[in-house]
């Protein structure tokens, strides 16, 4: 377990470094939410989900839908590290003719459906979950939402429907970093009491530290075992996590790091530990 966690932490650091590099090269984009959602995405792609980068259309794969599409740098990095496409592609983010659009779409191997217009992703994930039920398939569907995003009414329509249809193969995750473009969620449009809201809508709701790998894995394990209702994981996170001058700074919601900032950020994130030896030993 310890080695597994170490391995995942390492992956998360790798993803964070890629996010910083990609955004610095792109010159625009959303570092804050990409960094806050990194550990969640890492756990899903490198531990929780059954997926096959060699066969992205595998019908039995678990599905992931990034409802907060603007945080696609974290997703692109995870897909690339998983082997869906070569790392060099990451440096084309947001460039003309690149498959890595400013908000994700289907041209990227591993991306299920486009997102970007907030509030629609939970419905899309519900559709995939319902289809799995119709086909009597065992796959699970994961949907990552932003905290500001759930101010959209469509999310709550989907929340009501997912409970009504007993979509226990659906797991929502909220990247609760407490910031949206205009400021703190508490000031712009308060979301609390958030856990109670989801419970009142008929969901199994779990709160956890969205940067604690062990807590995240446990939350996903519970989500997997809950029957007859969907589960939401309210992951308490830090906007810009891992880069001191981006943490809790609303400016980095939608601003890329400068060259200087890139250097400092990469330095702060540190080296990727070599844990191949530990893994061999454990095996």
């Amino acid at each position: 377990m310890e080695t597994k966690i170490k391995h995942l932490k390492n992956k998360a650091t790798e993803i964070r470094k890629l996010i910083v590099e990609m955004l610095a090269k792109a010159g625009s984009g959303h570092p804050g939410g990409s960094l806050s959602s990194t550990d969640i995405i890492t756990c899903l792609y490198f531990e929780i989900m059954r997926h096959d980068p060699k066969n992205p259309a595998w019908p039995d794969r678990d599905r992931f839908h990034l409802s907060k599409g603007h945080c696609c740098p974290a997703l692109y990095a995870a897909l690339s590290l998983s082997g869906y496409f070569p790392r060099e592609k990451l440096w084309t983010l947001r460039k003309f003719n690149s498959m890595l659009q400013g908000h994700p779409d289907k041209r990227v191997p591993g991306v299920e459906l486009a997102s970007g217009s907030l509030g629609q992703g939970l419905s899309i994930a519900l559709g995939m979950a319902l289809s799995g039920k119709i086909d009597k398939k065992g796959y699970r569907v994961y949907c990552l939402m932003g905290d500001g995003e759930i101010q959209e009414g469509n999310i709550w329509e989907a929340a009501m429907a997912a409970a009504h249809f007993k979509a226990d193969n659906l797991c929502g995750i909220i990247d609760y970093n407490h910031f949206q473009i205009d400021g703190r969620t508490d000031d712009i449009m308060n979301l609390e009491p958030l856990l109670n809201k989801w419970e009142a809508f008929g969901w199994h709701a779990i709160a956890c530290d969205g940067h604690n790998i062990k807590e995240l894995l446990e939350a996903f394990r519970i989500a997997n075992s809950v029957k007859l209702k969907p589960t939401v994981i309210i992951a308490h996170t830090v906007k810009g996590k891992g880069v001191s001058f981006m943490e809790h700074v609303v400016d980095f919601h939608g601003r890329a790091p400068t060259e200087k900032e890139r250097e400092i950020a990469l330095h702060e994130l540190g080296e990727i530990e070599n844990i191949e030896k530990d893994i061999e030993e454990e095996e």
């Binding site: 419905s123 519900l126 289809s131 119709i134 329509e157 429907a161």
Partner: protein, 311 residues
């Protein structure tokens, strides 16, 4: 001989059942209007493949995208008002941008919704849908053409918007086999061309009969597909007749009249007159009263033709 009169939505419901038997990939959604849209016929036959989303059209639209992405063909229905305006972002970004097999079959379109009044009379829906890439639009003229439209939407990849009415409509004479993207002539004439879609095909045919009695010779063309538009035929019509009146149960902006004028202004400019709703909201009344009041009836078409021919 009495002319056959059918509810387009009844034909739709029956065709859905037919498709449901033929293909397990067919899934049907509704938003608390299954009795009115007739998707209830499918729901009764295939309860495991029918989902009622309650009064939540945005969720229904976005969810349909998720279902369709898993190799399904989704038909979904509500009133045209809510199928278009209410959830347009979901239609654009979740369905059309992903180019998914979602067939939106909207009933209760246009002024002939009648007594429910302006809030329920969708007169802008073709405009909204026509602006979105990947979307195809069919406005069937009657019951049998509705069946063809539904089968075509089923067989053709990508999103569709099929616009149906509320009231019974007489089955038109000289109907030709429906081909996506093609219009056709349904009454011969040589003085002027009436170009119509949906319930207005019947009005145009009635107007042509009256005109004939008055010694005027109007041809009637049915354009059931608004998108992709039959540009070749409209240019041919412009060349042959030089005078065209477009008839539609929709605002004159963004619908069939716009499609005709956009094509002709570029390819073969001629004078094109219009019968449609002129930038107004509807109101309560019987369909007959409203068609007269908003200038859409056969009488109004006759009058417009006579004025145009005098020009």
């Amino acid at each position: 001989m009495a002319i056959e009169q059918l509810y387009q939505r009844d034909v739709y419901g029956k065709t859905l059942v037919e498709l449901g038997k033929r293909d397990p990939r067919v899934i049907v959604l509704d938003a608390d209007l299954s009795g009115s849209t007739r998707t209830i016929l499918f729901a009764k036959e295939f309860p495991d493949r029918f989902f009622n989303f309650g009064v939540a059209e945005q969720n229904m639209m976005a969810t349909s995208a998720g279902i369709a992405s898993c190799s399904k063909i989704v038909f979904l229905s509500t009133f045209a008002m809510f199928a278009s305006a209410r959830a347009l972002d979901q239609v654009r970004n979740s369905i059309c941008y992903n180019n998914l097999n979602v067939k939106i079959v909207a009933t209760h379109s246009g002024i002939t919704v009648g007594e429910d009044g302006a809030s329920h009379q969708a007169l802008e829906d073709i405009n909204f849908m026509r602006a979105i890439p990947n979307m195809k639009i069919i406005v069937p003229a009657d019951g049998p053409e509705t069946r063809s439209a539904i089968l075509t939407a089923y067989e053709t990849n990508g999103p569709f918007y099929v616009r149906l009415g509320r009231a019974k409509v007489p089955s038109i004479e000289n109907r030709k086999e429906f081909v996506l993207g093609k219009g056709y002539i349904c009454a011969d004439g040589k003085d002027i061309a009436l170009v119509a879609c949906g319930v207005m095909v019947n009005e145009a045919l009635a107007a042509a009969k009256t005109l004939k009695e008055k010694g005027k010779d109007a041809a009637v063309f049915n354009f059931p597909t608004i998108k992709p538009f039959d540009k070749a035929l409209i240019v041919e019509i412009a060349k042959k007749y030089g005078k065209i009146i477009v008839c539609e149960e929709h605002q004159v902006t963004g619908g069939l009249y716009s499609a005709v004028c956009e094509t002709l202004s570029h390819d073969y400019p001629v004078l094109v007159e219009r019968i449609g709703v002129e930038d107004r909201f509807g109101q309560s009344g019987s369909p007959k009263e409203l068609m007269e009041c908003y200038g859409l009836s056969a009488n109004c078409i006759v009058k417009k033709c006579e004025e145009f021919l005098r020009k």
